[in-house]
């Protein structure tokens, strides 16, 4: 009989929520194994290419009922494919009461208490503050349109090395210039320096009780084919004293649902309260002459704008509706964002009558692509998403290598719709002022679209409405922690990556303090990554 494989800690997932605890735990002396469903690529492997078998190797489109979700699927997770906007969530978010009428975040977490963890992440990534010189033409156009309509607009902080960045606008594909600060460039290499082992193409199916004395959980996985993630190539199991679940808000609850058969009942909030972060995209199609005449913009002689596809994808946003005095569900940021033409199917055609989003008029709209500007509203939703029973394997049914059907339902609540409608009104008032642009909605397919899945195993103080306690430990399952976007209690009104990372930093700090409770003898404090490798090697108990 083969010996049972063991590790002190198994981390499931390698994005923000997995990479950060993996670094701290291994730097503190734990033997850490990371299991990642997707493949492993480095800077030199990424491509600037719209061919379907390139970027689709690292990102999934999961079609669900009422919402479609885009999620990273590679070592580094969402950090590899994100657009790097790195904002702290506004203070009021942490005080949100939602439709339940009581505070949804744990009492222990406020913006003020989280600020020190935000600061740490901003230094490690690191995050750069864009100046106006760094703002893309599209971001400048959005700012100028906001200003003309009486609004403020800010250049945004981004996790990008601005000296290396070429403004190529291919962030969804992974950065070919090594400028975007993904987990591949900071926490993960730091963790590997401390002997963390990263295993790509290992899709965790379930967690069961361990059979080895002193170990608590057995993590069961399938190995997947590198060329077709639908094909399993093997199975295995690792037993651990601590399991950190960070498979993303679309993956973590499904693993736990499937684990209930082995571990016993899961908290009621597992797979409930999903939020798409209130993501809501609309399109402005700009009149180039009015861009010149009303806004005074001209990027080259005779060319006022015509630059939708040029520059970093996110550079400016208006914070005017992040007003804590506004009622809940009426607060949102309005962010300039670029999407590659893979989503061109979604916008309505702008001509009355059917067809709405395809046909001759839609093709004509496509010829205006350079004059497009998409705006992402991130609103307050009602956490109304619920996961159905898990599929046989994985977290959704793969119809192709990078797309499939999920079990999530998102029946849009009136409060959520109100936020989206109010954000539509706000964007329309800005872009349609004096005929500057035509404001169009995304209507293709009828779903909401989100690149920011959250809250499907959220932390909180109320056991009835939160799966995990304020230390990210799954209720009733000691030693099992959720540290990814699933743990975030509510939508954030800004891009979530920095908050997911700050919460993972905080959870890691708490974990190190409590390691003895789980039979591990670890250093209680570890400095963040960022020093040279030799310094890290001396710090680790298991040097490479």
């Amino acid at each position: 009989m083969a010996a049972v494989e063991t590790a002190d800690v198994v981390v499931i997932g390698t994005g923000f929520g997995g990479a950060i605890p993996a670094y701290y735990l291994s730097a503190a002396g734990a033997r850490v194994v990371m299991l990642e469903r997707g493949p492993r690529f480095a800077t030199e492997d990424f491509t600037q290419d719209l061919r379907l078998d390139t970027y689709t190797r690292i990102v999934d489109l999961i079609q669900c009922s009422g919402v479609s979700v885009v999620a990273g699927n590679c070592v580094g997770g969402g950090s590899v494919v994100y657009f790097a906007a790195s904002l702290r969530a506004p203070s009021f978010v942490f005080e949100r009461r939602g439709t339940l009428g009581r505070r949804l975040w744990p009492a222990a977490i406020t913006r003020r208490s989280l600020d020190k963890y935000y600061t740490r992440v901003e230094r490690v990534l690191p995050v750069a503050q864009q100046a106006w010189d760094d703002v893309s033409y599209a971001g400048g156009l959005w700012a100028a349109a906001c200003a003309r309509a009486g609004h403020t607009c800010n250049p945004l902080p981004v996790a990008v090395d601005l000296r290396q960045c070429t403004s190529c606008n291919w962030m969804l594909n992974g950065c070919v210039f090594g400028a975007k600060r993904s987990m591949l460039l900071n926490y993960l290499p730091a963790a590997e320096t401390c002997a963390t082992e990263i295993r790509p193409l290992h899709e965790v199916q379930a967690i069961a009780p361990a059979t080895t004395t002193g170990y608590r959980y057995a993590v069961e996985y399938n190995q997947l084919s590198a060329s077709d993630y639908r094909i399993p190539t093997g199975t295995g199991s690792i037993e651990a004293k601590i399991v950190v679940l960070a498979a993303g808000a679309m993956g973590t609850p499904v693993i736990l649902q499937r684990s209930a058969a082995f571990l016993g009942a899961m908290p009621a909030a597992v797979g409930r309260y999903f939020s798409p972060n209130g993501d809501h995209v609309t399109l402005g199609v700009f009149d180039e002459a009015k861009v010149r005449d009303l806004l005074g913009l001209e990027r080259a002689p005779g060319t006022p704008y015509g630059a939708y596809a040029i520059g970093r994808p996110i550079t400016t946003a208006s914070y005017d509706y992040l007003d804590p005095g506004l009622p809940e569900f009426s607060r949102f940021s309005l962010e300039q964002i670029y999407f590659p033409p893979i989503v061109n199917i979604l916008a309505e055609d702008g001509v009355d009558g059917p067809p709405v989003w395809f046909g001759v008029d839609k093709r004509t709209l496509g010829t205006r692509f350079p004059s497009w500007l998409t705006v992402l509203a991130m609103t307050e939703d009602a956490n109304e998403g619920v996961f159905g029973p898990p599929p046989p394997t994985g977290n959704f049914i793969r119809a192709s290598v990078a797309a499939g059907l999920g079990q999530l339902s998102y029946p849009t609540a009136p409060e959520t719709q109100r936020g989206w409608d109010e954000s539509d009104d706000a964007v329309r008032a800005i872009v349609e002022k004096d005929g500057l642009a035509r404001h169009l909605l995304w209507k293709g397919g009828g779903n909401a679209y989100s690149a920011h899945p959250l809250s499907s195993c959220r932390i909180g103080d109320d056991p009835a409405t939160s799966a995990c306690d304020d230390g990210h430990e799954l209720r009733g399952h000691p030693g099992l922690f959720v540290t990814d976007g699933a743990a975030v209690p509510t939508s954030l009104c800004v891009n979530p990556s920095l908050t997911i990372a700050a919460l993972a930093e905080r959870a890691s700090t708490l974990l190190l303090r409590r390691a003895g409770d789980y039979g591990l003898s670890l250093r209680a404090q570890v400095p963040p990554p960022g020093r040279s490798d030799p310094v890290r090697r001396r710090r680790c108990r298991h040097p490479v």
Binding site: Q48, L52, Q129, S136, Y137, P157, S167, C168, L322, F369
Partner: protein, 136 residues
Amino acid sequence: MNFPAAGTGPVLPALAAALNARATGFAAAHAIVLDPTVPPLVSLDFEERTTLLVEILDGTDPDQLAYFALAGIVFVAYHTAGHLHTTDALAAGHPGLVAIGFPLPQSDGKWRFPDFSYRRALAATHPATTRRGSPR
């Protein structure tokens, strides 16, 4: 549509048969005489096909998701040349990429935009902004 990464290849025969069945039903409902020498969907004229597709894609059709996925592949083929490397598609004058004005790469086949910004302040920033640029 048979490009492996699209994932639609195996279901194309079933989808084609279903579309032709829908076209036949549409023709019967609208007293349209179909040309027996071509598939029923092809036999409908452009306006009729468009009307049928509106029924299928914008209504509450039980197979709407499958047809939307199929439409998605068509969009991806035209708007992104998803079956080709983008540099090759642009070099060959791919009609969709040309129509949408997708920008060209530099001579080494990589995209970089040295000129990407108006390089001037274009709005007042929000007063409740932290030193690092986040909302308070």
